[in-house]
């Protein structure tokens, strides 16, 4: 515990230099701008920034990416409050109460509350990140091939389930498609070229960053340009710094939403949007002012913003301890860590023991910058929202192209970006979530190596995949996740519930209670 604090202190001291602080400020500000522009998501921002920072020193590059991530998730609240259009999907729940507050002439107050909520969410997430990552990392040292195989399947199943709540089948198809995409190219055991059809470029596999830039960048451009033009509403912004009583009054909501957000973030592939909605839902159920929800409730706004920013730190827990991303932007962050020579995963506690606390220090710096920048320059930055899309989108696409090209200086990656952009666009149109596909591309290699390694170890015997304790738990969780979405299972649970309550009522009657 004290060793951890010491490592955190050392990491913080290491970052307190004018150059790093300058990097923190501009990248967080850029993140806020990216987040507040409808159509530019946090994932797109982090992916584009990865291509711009890959020549920097690892710590400098990763702190910039974390600042971009935290800034963008927070920045989306601006457009959600002022335009009723969430800047990133993470801020959809923010718009429900944030925009009614703006319509009541309290836009400044709503921005202030959202900023403070995001700050506390991020801090709670940071504390849990520091506490749980080493624990999970140490626990994951017991994982063998069997466990990693089930973990990758579990990641896909749970991510497909939660990112496509209306139709999990499409989420699972998207996830398994991603796992398949990861198998394209030269495999690791025999150097055999799978699905390359003689192409030299394909034998290197599909690079994650161009694929992600396409899926989240180009697909977003196509979606934005297809939609009717939005109207910018001019809102008057008065006092931004919130009153202390508005915050202290809802301390329970802040704490609860922070914990929920972090927990949701730690689930593989489940991002900030779901964290915000779950936090909002819990807050609305336990609130004393239920009637205000949806009409400009400060508590609702705090819950949503605390939840989504806590999720950012939560999503980094599995990134660092298991090398499995908790959300789509965290997936890019994971890829960026690999690019910079840091290998997250169970061995991080052995290979890079200081890195976890460095990330915690980075989150603290980014969160502080977000609070300071979020409460200042509000009126000036709101003007960014008035940039027309036909002026902004070609620039974003130029960055998508050059960013994809710059990583390996080959045009093939630009074509990969374009192909994945078109794929991502049609997936969105047809209600297939794209997050499981991206998670699949990352987990594909883990699945491939560990399934074959496990089978070689057991000489083809499948029983150890089901009998080792952690494997068995993961396998049962996968089974439960799938079965829980089936209508017959829900009907069964309902009927068992009603039978049980009937029996209890009879017993109470007999006992005379």
């Amino acid at each position: 515990m004290f060793q951890g604090l010491l490592q955190f202190y050392n990491a913080l001291l290491m970052f307190l230099t004018p150059k790093v602080l300058f990097d923190v400020l501009w990248s967080t500000q850029l993140g806020i701008i990216v987040g507040m522009m409808p159509g530019l998501t946090a994932t797109m921002g982090v992916a584009l920034m990865t291509t711009l920072t890959y020549k920097m020193a690892p710590e400098n590059a990763i702190i910039i990416l974390i600042c971009m991530y935290i800034g963008a998730i927070y920045g989306g609240s601006r457009s959600a409050i002022l335009l009723n259009i969430p800047g990133t999907p993470a801020n959809a729940a923010t718009a429900v109460d944030g925009h009614p507050l703006a319509r009541q002439g309290k836009a400044g107050m709503a921005i202030g509350i959202a900023t403070t909520g995001s700050f506390f969410g991020s801090i709670i997430g940071m504390i849990l990140l520091a506490l749980f990552t080493p624990l999970i990392g140490n626990f994951a040292l017991n994982f063998g091939s069997f466990e990693f195989f089930w973990l990758s399947i579990f990641g896909i199943v749970i991510c497909g389930n939660l990112t496509s709540p209306k139709d999990p089948l499409k989420g699972w198809i998207a996830g398994f498609l991603g796992l398949f995409i990861a198998t394209i190219g030269m495999e690791g055991m025999h150097a055999y070229r799978r699905f390359c059809f003689g192409s030299v470029e394909l034998s290197g596999g599909i690079s994650l960053i161009p694929a992600m830039v396409g899926i989240f960048g180009f697909a977003e451009i196509l979606t934005i340009m297809r939609q009717p033009e939005m109207e910018v509403i001019q809102s008057k912004i008065t006092r931004v710094i919130p009153r202390l009583k508005d915050i202290t009054r809802y301390w329970k909501t802040i704490l609860r939403s922070g914990v929920i957000g972090t927990f949701v973030g730690a689930i593989p592939g489940v991002g900030e949007d779901i964290a915000a909605w779950v936090s909002y839902d819990f807050a609305s159920r336990s609130s004393k002012e239920k009637e205000k929800f949806g009409k400009g409730s400060i508590e609702g706004l705090i819950a949503a913003e605390t939840g989504n920013n806590a999720c950012v730190a939560g999503a980094m827990i599995p990134v660092l301890s298991l090398a499995i991303p908790g959300s789509a932007p965290a997936a890019v962050l994971l890829a960026a860590m690999f690019i910079h020579g840091v290998r997250p995963g169970p061995l991080i506690m052995v290979e890079f023991p200081d890195f976890i606390y460095q990330v915690v220090a980075m989150v603290l710096l980014a969160t502080t910058a977000m609070l300071v920048l979020g409460l200042s320059m509000v009126r000036f930055l709101v003007k960014v929202l008035t940039i027309p899309r036909e002026r902004l989108m070609p620039f974003v696409f130029v960055l998508c192209v050059i960013g994809s090209y710059a990583l390996a200086a080959r045009l093939f990656d630009v074509w990969v970006m374009v192909a994945f952009g078109i794929l991502g666009y049609y997936m969105r149109i047809m209600d297939y979530p794209v997050a499981p596909t991206v998670l699949g591309i990352i987990l594909g290699d883990i699945l491939d190596k560990n399934l074959r390694r496990g089978l070689i170890l057991t000489d083809g015997n499948l029983i150890p995949f089901f009998t080792r304790p952690i494997s068995l738990i993961l396998c049962l969780l996968i089974l439960f996740t799938i079965v829980s979405r089936m209508s017959w299972f829900r009907r069964l649970v309902k009927s068992v519930n009603s039978q049980l309550s009937l029996c209890l009522a009879k017993l109470r009657q007999k006992a005379g209670i």
Partner: protein
């Protein structure tokens, strides 16, 4: 998308996905097993893609059956529906954007100077979408000069940043 249209889309997609997954299984089965060089048969490269192909085929089959139950097979495609789709303003905007972006990324970048390709792309993109929004005088006096300025400035900034700051050999 409306539920009925979604069922139709699911019907077509599931057939495509089913064929795709069957192709994956067929290609995986044809992959070498390296047993002749003494390798374990369980290290064969086709095991994992083959398994993923089977799972994808099963999921697509479920999607296909579900879309048939929801009458997704009644596609009702005719000239009128297709024409109406292509006449929608949103469809036109989508295809224009896609065309411009594809032309830039596939046919311009790498073929001519990066700076010129980017200037052309940004200018044409802005001009194409701003032209119908304003009257001719406004377009010629205000929109076009600013579009040229923006295209030149952004192209120069991106080219310089990548060439001299990130030391990337531009395409």
């Amino acid at each position: 998308m409306q539920r009925q249209n979604m069922s139709k889309a699911d019907f077509v997609t599931s057939i495509f996905l089913l064929l795709f997954s069957l192709a994956i299984i067929a290609l995986s089965l044809r992959m070498p097993r390296f047993e002749s060089v003494g390798a374990s048969p369980y290290s064969a490269p086709g095991i994992v893609p083959g398994l993923l192909g089977v799972v994808l085929a099963l999921l697509s089959l479920i999607l296909l059956i579900r879309s048939i139950i929801r009458s997704g097979y009644k596609l009702n495609l005719n000239v009128r529906v297709v024409r109406a789709y292509f006449q929608e303003a949103s469809t036109k905007r989508f295809f224009l954007t896609l065309g411009l972006c594809l032309f830039y990324a596939v046919f311009l970048v790498g073929k001519i100077s990066y700076f010129i390709a980017t200037v052309l792309y940004i200018f044409v993109f802005i001009a194409t979408f701003e032209w119908p929004k304003r009257d001719r005088q406004q377009v010629l006096k205000k929109a076009m000069p600013t579009a040229v300025a923006e295209a030149v400035f952004l192209s120069a900034a991106v080219s310089m940043a990548f060439r001299y700051l990130f030391l990337v050999k531009l395409p």
